[in-house]
Structure formats: structure tokens, C-alpha cells
Assembly symmetry: C2
Homo-oligomer: 455 residues x 2
């Protein structure tokens, strides 16, 4: 019954592109530049992203579903359906996707926490460093030049860089789903993944500057690394100094939900713009803005309406009975900014992953050489991270190593930026996306197995 | 103390454009097409919109503040500051603004309710009809041609049409702020305002089709009116038939918050695209989609997390004590879709009003002729609506009449669409925006006075 309904649904979603082509696609009688196709495709992509969430039934993270459905839609032309090809070039959708990745990194920053990052200590730092250095070396200096001879130095740099960053989201999701989020292995992996993200963002700043400026001198690498570090630390310090004042100031004007959200997003966007102006990727700024933000800056703002309502309703209860309810409220009041931004994330973030999937050319994999490259790079990606588990100390090393395997957002950001800058070709781009898909595809089952075997 | 802080704040916001010009504005070293300026201006406009919320301190609605600060920023060039002029032409911001107005009409549709609209009965319909016909006739056939001789017929049509639509939002806000939302006058005004919106959207469909096709024959007017009505009714019927099934179907895939939001927005966007494809404005479709949506379609979805949490926390309470809390929860559970879309609205809707304000040329008002026209049109706008109060039956007619005065969203949509289609000139556009600002500016204090005099 359920199965039949889902089938009907997939049919409907599958038919939408045909309906679009039948109704004319680009032409429209009313407006000067019609937004109808863009609105239509936004709706189709958003629904497709959510339908792809079915993949969670098979223990896979939603982001994988979004990538895969993107790849599927993007390669419909192999079956003669070309209607979706206009989407790949739609600048407005591309803009929304890029806005989405800024929001995503802002969210990741919000969920991360500097104190926490400092606390996980040297163990996580060690794992993170090995987990960055080994894959980078493998990609940029060994496997890359070996199996893809004749590319530019910049292409090898991007390939190596794309192999470095562990996906916090995917890893955390697997540990959480299995109920092992508090295990020592999980703590090390999550700490290392966050450090990885930061190192990854610095590498991103370095390699994209190298790619645009063309130089690979040690002096300029040092300069850019310094700039990225100074920006991150400076943004964090500046943020810590001004955020509380801004929070208080703006709460004076209006202490409602809208103001809270606007303040958070505006700072995220300002930091993103600032990062780009000094030559870093916008997402570096968005992440820094998220890190800086702390619920405490919003204590001058009103609580969410529902919290106020329930609080009023429990006024007459005895203190003991109120405690549990107040605890539930407290948690939501504390997480309110994250919850406010979530709808924006739901709206914009899937577009980013879909648009990446759309650009993967499956036809390239029909060439045995490229398929082989994808597999070798994927093996390097696995090996590079599993090795990092060896320095994890007295824990189950295999779990730490496998926990570090999933690449995700940052790896894909490297790939799409490399493509946009013209540093890597469509081939290498597709290879990287395939690598990300495979690491994300195999890790959850293996990790689940390893974790359960222990029990 | 508060005053000084607000001053500091205004200074900061005022300085941002200068900072932007100092940091180079358009140039950037990293990306191929840099999004930094767009991100920067989004942040500035959003913050400016929220700072303009200070106007609520003076009993004025926030939308007026957004318009006014838009006008202020858009005319900074009068003081030699030209940095903001690039914003007026920024296509990405324009796109977000248009997405914003689609979201807004979807929200208005969500808050409206067909049963409610049918119930307010013939009284409201009568008031609404008079309140549309009189201002339209005044603008299109009398005052327009009289004081603005020599324009095209289409320009007069747009001018008249822009005078028709009462702003539900502003009117409802005034009644609610004074605690008179349940008075008979309020019921009639709100009913009439909703009917006005629908009539306004049909007029919009008709006049924009006339403007693009160039014909004003009775046959084509009838055709377009029929098309608009059939679309509205058809969309509503279709929606009522498929929405419950879609809700159940998608809830099977994933019953979380993200799915709920995606489903709602996707249908809003699909209806918007459909409306434009058959020759209506996208907002007509968005409004219809909002009307169709009903919380009952989401009963298969999970409650918001906080509702579940609190429900668990009160499990052990006595039924009497639980009742009040459950009531508070029920309300939020019921309004959950509206609350989920609110953050998107906070993010996108102010951009629409700011972008409209930005396009007003204050320099035009330095010409006595245009200033005079703006004032005469404004007087016609007041008169046309106050007259409609006379048919309101046995209630205080002046309150109904004044309650109908504020123009808002729909009037501005007429103006910006007329400008985009090239039907009205910058002069007439500015005149309409000034009219909207003045009706919105004067009504709240007058209405407050009238309502309080009765007490």
C-alpha cells in the first residue's frame, strides 16, 4: 500500500518535467522577464530533494539522496529528455544554491563551539592533521599525478584538497542514529571533523588564491594562510566584542523573532562578503559568523511565542511539576536562533547539493579510464582517512578511522569552486563528486557494523 | 540612554554604504562572478528594514518604515552618495524581492480562509465593490485624465487599478493594536479587504494582459476576467481535491518539519508558475495556493519538536492542569505551517518593499506639477474608500470607511508591474508610491482617534 503510493508519487515528480515542456518552458505572455520557469524548477528540485529523503529508510544520510537525485535528473538527457538542461545554466537557481551553502556553513558554525573545539584536545587535533595531510598528499602528489598525468599543478592541488575535509554532518548523524554520540570514539571523530573543516577552509582559501593568482610560491602560500588565520581569529574576536552589544542594541528597537533572525543572517552575510573582499571564500566568513554567534547574545530578545504561552499556562503548577516542562522550554529557547534559520536551510541548502549532482556527467564514466580514476581516487580517499585512526590513542582505532571517511559539503565546495574557476575539468569534477558519493555511501553501513560488533 | 544607542546604531547602518565604497564595491579577486556585493547589500537592506521598524513606536505599521527607508536610501544621490544606485539594478536582489512578494501573497492566502470569506456576507461584498469601483473610476476615468492629460489609456488603467486594493495587513494591524478586532466594523472591513484583494488580483490580471496585448476590447476583458476567475476557482477546487492526498503521501516519506515546509512552498511556487504560464500574475497563483492550504492537510505530519517535548513533560499531570497547556500547544501545532514560513517571509518580504522604495525619485516631487498630482491622487484615494463606508449598514460608517483607506502590497505590486511593463512612467510610479505611503501614514492615527472617541 505504502509502496504503491510512493510509486505514484515518484511518477508524479517524474512527470513534472514533461508537463513543463508541454506548457512551453521559457515563453510567457505577461512579464518582461518571466520568473515562471525558475519558480517551477525551484518547486520541482525542492520536491525531488525531499522525495530523495526516502534514502534515509536505507540508513543513508539525506544529503546522499539529494546528490543522487541531482545526478539522476542531470543525466536524463541520456534518455533523450533535455528539458532539465536549462536548469544547469539558470543563474538565479545557481545564486540560490550559493546562498544555500553560505547558510549551511553559517548553521555548521552555529552548531560548532569554540570552547568545545579547544576541549577535545590534542588527540583530535592529531587525528585531524593526519586525516588532512595524508589524503592531501595522496591526492595532490601521488595518486593524482600518477593516474591523471598531464594536468596542471592547480588541478592536483584541488584534487588533493577535495580529499581532505570530513563531513561533520554525516558522521554525527551516523553516531547519533546508532546512539553512540557520547562514546569516546565519537568525541574524537567529531572534534577532529570540526578541526578538519577549519583546516579545509584555510586550504580552500589557499588553493583558490593560488588558482586565481597563478603563483605557487611558498611566500604567497604563507601569506594566504596567514590572511585566512588572521581573518578567522580576527572575525571571532571582533564578533565576540561586538555581538553582545549588537544584540542588546537591536533588541532595543524590536525584541521579536524577526529582528533576531535578521540580525543573525545579516551578520552571516556581512562576514561572507568581507571574506570574499579580502580574497577568501564567502563560506569561510559565514562559518566564522556562525562560530561567533552565541545564544547568550540573544538573551535580550523575546522568547519564542510558544515558550511564553506555555510558561504562562504553567504559572500555577507546583515547582516540582514545572521543572520538567521548564527544562523542555529552556532547550528550545536556547536553540531558538538555530530553529529560526532551519526553514531557510530547508529551502536553500538542498538546492546546493542538487545543483552539484546536476553537473555530474555520467556519460564520462562510460570511459573506462575515468571510471578507473574515480575508483582509485576513492580508494585513496578511504585509505587516507582510515590511516588517521591509527593515531587516535586508546580507543577502537578502526571506528575513529572509518568515522573520518565521509566527505561531504566541503569536498563538494572544492569541486564546484575548482570547476567555476576553470582549474579542474568536467572529468575531474565528476571524479570528485563520485568519490564523495562513494565515501558517503559505504561509511554508514560499515560504521554501523563496527559499532554493533562491539556490543 | 536608549536614544543615544539608537543614534549610534543609525550611524553604523548609515556608514555601511561608505565602508562598501571604500572596500571597492564591485571588484573582487577570488570568484568569477563575485556575490560579495549582493551579500553585502542584502545584509544592509535587511538591517535597514529592521531599524526602520522603529516607526512602530509611533503607532505606524512596519511596512511603512520599510518603504520610507527605501525611499531615503534610494535618494541618497541627492546628497552626492551614489553607491546605492547599483542596488536598484541588481538582478539578484530584484529576484529575491519578487520571490518575497510571492511568499507574502502565499502567507496572506494562508491567513485567509474561504469559509470566513463566504460568511462575512453581502455587507462586506457591497463595501468591497463600492471600495473598488469608486477609486478605480476616480483614478482611471476622472482625476487621472483630468490632472495628467495625454497619457496612454493603459497608464490610466494602472493608475485606477492601483487605487483599488485595501491592505488587509495594515488594517488588521490597526484594529488588533487597539483591541477592536472583534467589533462589527472590523469584521466588515476585514471581510471587504480580503474580497478587495481577490478583485484586485483579477483587475491586475486584466490590466496587465491589456497592457501586454494592447487591446481593450470588451471581449478580451471578459475573456481575461473569466480566465482569472476560472483559474482561481479551478486552483482552489483542484487544491482541495489533491492537497489532502499530497499531504498524506509526502508524510509517508518523511513526516518532519522540512517536508512540511517544502510541500507548502513548492505548491506555492508551482501555482505561481502556473498562473504566469496562463497569463496571470504569479502572485495570483501564490494567493490561491495559500487559500487552498489548510492545517488539516498536515495532520499526518509530526508536531513541532517543542510541542512533542512539552507534551511528554506534562504526561503525569492531572487532566485539569494539562488542559491550559494543551490548549497553548494546540494553537501552535495548528499554526505550524504559517510559523515555518515566517522566517522566509522575514528574510524576503522586506526586500520587496525596500526595492520599491528605492525606485521612488524624490527629485520628481520638486516639480510642483507632480507634487500636486500626488496630492490630488491621494485625496481621490481617501475619498474613494471613505465613500464605501456609506453602504456598510447599521455600524459606524466612518470607521468602516477609514478602515478601508490604507493601500499597501497590492497597490505597490500594480505600480511596480506597470513600471516593469513600461506602461507607466517613473513619474506616475512615484505618484502611486507616494499615495500608498500617505494613505498608510494618515489612517492609523485617524482610525485610532475615531475608535477611541466612541469609548
Amino acid at each position: 500500500m505504502i509502496r504503491r503510493r510512493i510509486l505514484t508519487l515518484l511518477l508524479i515528480v517524474g512527470l513534472l518535467p514533461l508537463i513543463a515542456s508541454a506548457t512551453g518552458g521559457e515563453t510567457t505572455p505577461v512579464s518582461i522577464h518571466s520568473l515562471a520557469p525558475t519558480f517551477f524548477w525551484m518547486a520541482v528540485l525542492l520536491m525531488a530533494a525531499k522525495v530523495s529523503g526516502l534514502i534515509e529508510r536505507f540508513g543513508q544520510p539525506a544529503v546522499l539522496g539529494e546528490l543522487l537525485i541531482g545526478v539522476a535528473l542531470g543525466n536524463l538527457h541520456l534518455f533523450g529528455i533535455t528539458i532539465i538542461d536549462a536548469v544547469k545554466e539558470n543563474e538565479l537557481l545557481q545564486f540560490l544554491a550559493e546562498l544555500g551553502v553560505v547558510i549551511l556553513l553559517f548553521q555548521i558554525g552555529l552548531e560548532s563551539n569554540i570552547q568545545q573545539m579547544l576541549r577535545v584536545g590534542p588527540r583530535a587535533l592529531l587525528v585531524a592533521t593526519v586525516g588532512v595531510v595524508v589524503p592531501f598528499a595522496l591526492g595532490a602528489a601521488l595518486v593524482g599525478p600518477l593516474i591523471l598525468p598531464g594536468l596542471s599543478n592547480n588541478a592536483y592541488l584541488f584534487l588533493g584538497a577535495a580529499l581532505t575535509a570530513t563531513s561533520v554532518g554525516i558522521t554525527a548523524r551516523v553516531f547519533r542514529d546508532i546512539g553512540k554520540l557520547q562514546s569516546p570514539e565519537a568525541r574524537i571523530v567529531l572534534g577532529a571533523a570540526v578541526i578538519d573543516d577549519v583546516i579545509g577552509l584555510i586550504i580552500l582559501a589557499v588553493v583558490s588564491a593560488i588558482a586565481t593568482e597563478g603563483s605557487v610560491g611558498l611566500a604567497s602560500v604563507t601569506l594566504i594562510t596567514a590572511k585566512a588565520l588572521i581573518f578567522l581569529i580576527g572575525a571571532i574576536l571582533l564578533g565576540y566584542c561586538i555581538a553582545p552589544h549588537l544584540g542588546r542594541l537591536f533588541a532595543k528597537i524590536h525584541s521579536g523573532t524577526g529582528m533576531k533572525l535578521t540580525l543573525a543572517i545579516s551578520l552571516g552575510l556581512l562576514f561572507a562578503a568581507a571574506a570574499q573582499w579580502i580574497g577568501l571564500a564567502p563560506i569561510v566568513g559565514a562559518f566564522a559568523a556562525g562560530l561567533v554567534f552565541d545564544p547568550v547574545h540573544f538573551r535580550h530578545f523575546k522568547d519564542p511565542e510558544i515558550v511564553t504561552d506555555v510558561r504562562k499556562a504553567i504559572e500555577n503548577l507546583h515547582s516540582k511539576e514545572r521543572e520538567g516542562i521548564l527544562h523542555a522550554l529552556e532547550r528550545h529557547s536556547h536553540r531558538h536562533v538555530e530553529e529560526l534559520i532551519e526553514p531557510l536551510g530547508h529551502f536553500l541548502v538542498p538546492l546546493f547539493f542538487l545543483m552539484i549532482g546536476l553537473k555530474v556527467e555520467l556519460a564520462l564514466l562510460a570511459q573506462p579510464a575515468i571510471l578507473l580514476v574515480a575508483l582509485v581516487i576513492t580508494v585513496a580517499a578511504f585509505a587516507g582517512k582510515i590511516v588517521s585512526g591509527l593515531v587516535a590513542g586508546k580507543v577502537r582505532k578502526s571506528i575513529v578511522g572509518w568515522g573520518m571517511v565521509p566527505r561531504g559539503e566541503v569536498g563538494l565546495i572544492f569541486a564546484s569552486m575548482g570547476l567555476a574557476l576553470g582549474v579542474i575539468s568536467k572529468d575531474v569534477f565528476s571524479v570528485i563528486v563520485i568519490m564523495v558519493i562513494l565515501t558517503t555511501l559505504f561509511t554508514p553501513p560499515v560504521l554501523t557494523l563496527l559499532l554493533r560488533r562491539h556490543d
